[in-house]
Amino acid sequence: MTAVIEATSLSRWYGNVLGISDISLEIQPGITALLGPNGAGKSTFMKIITGQLKANLGQVRIYGQKVWNNNQIFHRLGFCPEVDAFYEELNGLEFLSGLLSLYGFRKAECLKLAEQALKIVELQDVKLRPIRSYSRGMRQRLKVAQALAHDPEILILDEPLSGLDPLSKRRLIKLIKELRTKGKTIVVSSHILPEVEAMTSEIILIHHGKILAKGDIYFIRELLDTHPHMIKIKSPQFRELASWLAPEDYILNITFESESQAVIFETHHRDRFFDRLNELVLNSDLNLEEITSPDDNLQAVFDYLVEK
C-alpha cells in the first residue's frame, strides 16, 4: 500500500534543544496514534508534517508532494492544533465559514459546509453563540470541526482529547472512529495511553525525539520478549488453577488477588500458556469468569520501552 505520509530521516532542533531526531516512518490510511509523554517531540513532528516548521534534516512528503511552503496540500489536509485558541469575537458558524472562505469556497458553500461540520461535532445548537462562551468540550469539538469542515483526506489531530470530560471524550473517540470508516488517514497524538487504546492499535511510540516502536500495539508487545506477559484469570477455583499451572517451566511468577478471586500469571510464552489453559478447561470442571491481560496495554508497553 502506498504511504500517505512519508517522513525520511527527519530531525529538528531548537538551538541546543532536540525536538526530534532521525525519524523515518510511513503512515497508511486509518488511525495512527502518536504516543509519548509531554515534550517527547509529538507536536514538533506534527508541525513538520503540517508545514508549520521546517525540518533541519530530512524531508516529509504527503501523497508524494513536499509540505514546506506548499500551501495547495492543505486542500487535502486538516489540522487540529493542541492549543485552546480561537478568534473569540466570532461565533462557531462565523469561525468555521470564515476559515472555509480561505479555501476559495463561495459564501453559500462555506455556510453549508460549516453547518455540516457543526452537525458532525454536535454543535449546531450553539452555532450562533460567541466562542468565548463555549465550554472546554465545545471548544475542543469546534477545533476538530475546523479541521474536517473541508472534507480533507488526512486529519492531523494534536491532543484532541486533552481536557475533555469523559462524555465528550467518548463522543470524540466515536467521531474519530467513524472518520476512519470513511477512508480517512488520521494521525492523532496523545500522552494518555487508555485514550489512544480506545481509538486504535496502530501506534508510534515517541520519546526524547526518537521513535521507540512503531506498529500494532500487540505486535510490539510480542517483540518485547525480554519482558513477561501478564495474564489475569478470574475464577472461583483460582487457587487450583495456580497449582495446576505452577509446575510449567514457562511460568515465571504467580500472584494472587484473593479479594477478587483472581490469579495473575507471568510468562514468556503466551501461546504455550493458552494451549495449556485450553486443555485444563476442556479436561476439568474449571470455571473461568474473566481472562484479561493487564500489561497488554499501552501503558505497559510504554513503561517497558522507556525502562521505567
Binding site: 500551501n71 495547495q72 492543505f74 486538516g78 492549543v83 478568534y87 469575537e89 476559515l99 472562505s101 480561505l102
Partner: protein, 275 residues
C-alpha cells in the same frame, strides 16, 4: 516559451489576487467585530471632541485664525503626528503579533493560501478598516472647524488632499510596523520609539537627516505650507520639503518595500509559539 512564461505569470498574479481577496474578506469581517476596532474608533473620535472645543474657543473669540488654518494645524498635531502613527503602530504590528500571541497562527498557515497573500490580504483589510475610521473623523472635524464659513469648490479639493496625505501616511506606517511585527518578537516598544521618538525628533534636524522619516514626506505634501505660520508653527520650522511628486513616490516605495519584506520574512520564518 515566452508566451507560456507570460501565461504562467498572469495565472500566478490572478491566483495571488484571488487569495489576497479571500484573506481580505475574512480579516475585514474579523476586524469589524474586534474590541480593538471599537477602542480605536473611540480614540479617533477624540479629534471630534477636540474640534468642538477649539470651535467653542474660536466662537468665543480666543482663536482668531480661520477654520482652514486651524484645521491644518490640527491635522499636523493630532492626525499626522499622533493618530496615524498610533493606528499604524497598533494595527501594523498586530497583523502577525496577534496571531502569535493569540496562538491562532496554525489556523491560517494550514490553509491553501500563500503566506505572502495572507500578510498582504490582512494588511489591506486592516488598512481599509482604519481608513474608514480616519476618513469619518477627519471629515467631521473639518466640518466642525469650518462651520459657518462659505464653502468653495477649492475646499473639496483641499479636504481630498488631506485625505490622500493621511492615507499615504497611514499605509506607510502600517507597512513599516507590519514589517517590524514580522521581524521582531516584541515590536511595540521598537515601534513606539520609532513612531513617537525618531519620527518627531528627526524633524528638528536640518539637511538630509530629516528625510529618513515618513513624517518628512507627509509634511512636504501639506497644502499652503508655511514653515512658521500659526501658533503651532514652531513644530515644523525646520522642514526642508521634498518636491510633492517625489514625496508621493517615496511614500509608495516605503509601502511596497516594507510589505514585500514582511511577506518574505513571513514566508520563511517559523513562529514558534508553543515550544
Amino acid at each position: 516559451m515566452i508566451i507560456s512564461r507570460r501565461f504562467s505569470i498572469i495565472w500566478w498574479k490572478s491566483k495571488m489576487r484571488e487569495e489576497i481577496l479571500r484573506v481580505f474578506s475574512f480579516y475585514f469581517f474579523l476586524g469589524k467585530k474586534s474590541a480593538r476596532t471599537r477602542t480605536f474608533f473611540l480614540v479617533s473620535s477624540v479629534s471630534i471632541l477636540m474640534a468642538l472645543i477649539i470651535r467653542a474657543y474660536q466662537l468665543a473669540g480666543y482663536w482668531t485664525e480661520n477654520g482652514q488654518v486651524i484645521f491644518q494645524n490640527f491635522l499636523m498635531v493630532f492626525f499626522l503626528q499622533f493618530l496615524i502613527v498610533l493606528l499604524g503602530l497598533f494595527y501594523g504590528t498586530s497583523i502577525l503579533a496577534e496571531e502569535v500571541e493569540g496562538r491562532t497562527m496554525s489556523y491560517i498557515t494550514t490553509r491553501p493560501v500563500r503566506r505572502a497573500a495572507l500578510i498582504t490580504g490582512k494588511y489591506l483589510a486592516y488598512l481599509s478598516l482604519v481608513s474608514i475610521m480616519l476618513i469619518s473623523t477627519v471629515l467631521i472635524s473639518y466640518l466642525i472647524l469650518n462651520l459657518g464659513r462659505d464653502f468653495r469648490l477649492d475646499d473639496i479639493g483641499t479636504v481630498f488632499r488631506y485625505f490622500i496625505i493621511l492615507w499615504l501616511g497611514l499605509a506607510a506606517y502600517m507597512s513599516f510596523f507590519n514589517f517590524l511585527g514580522a521581524w521582531l518578537k516584541k515590536p511595540i516598544l521598537v515601534g513606539l520609539a520609532f513612531g513617537f521618538g525618531w519620527e518627531s525628533i528627526i524633524q528638528y534636524f536640518p539637511g538630509t537627516t530629516q528625510k529618513l522619516s515618513v513624517a518628512h514626506y507627509l509634511k512636504s505634501l501639506l497644502p499652503q505650507y508655511t514653515s512658521s505660520s500659526g501658533k503651532l508653527g514652531f513644530l515644523f520650522i525646520r522642514l526642508e520639503p521634498t518636491k510633492p511628486g517625489l514625496a508621493v513616490l517615496i511614500l509608495i516605495a516605503i509601502i511596497l518595500v516594507f510589505l514585500i519584506l514582511a511577506s518574505l520574512i513571513f514566508s520563511y520564518k517559523e513562529y514558534l509559539f508553543e515550544e
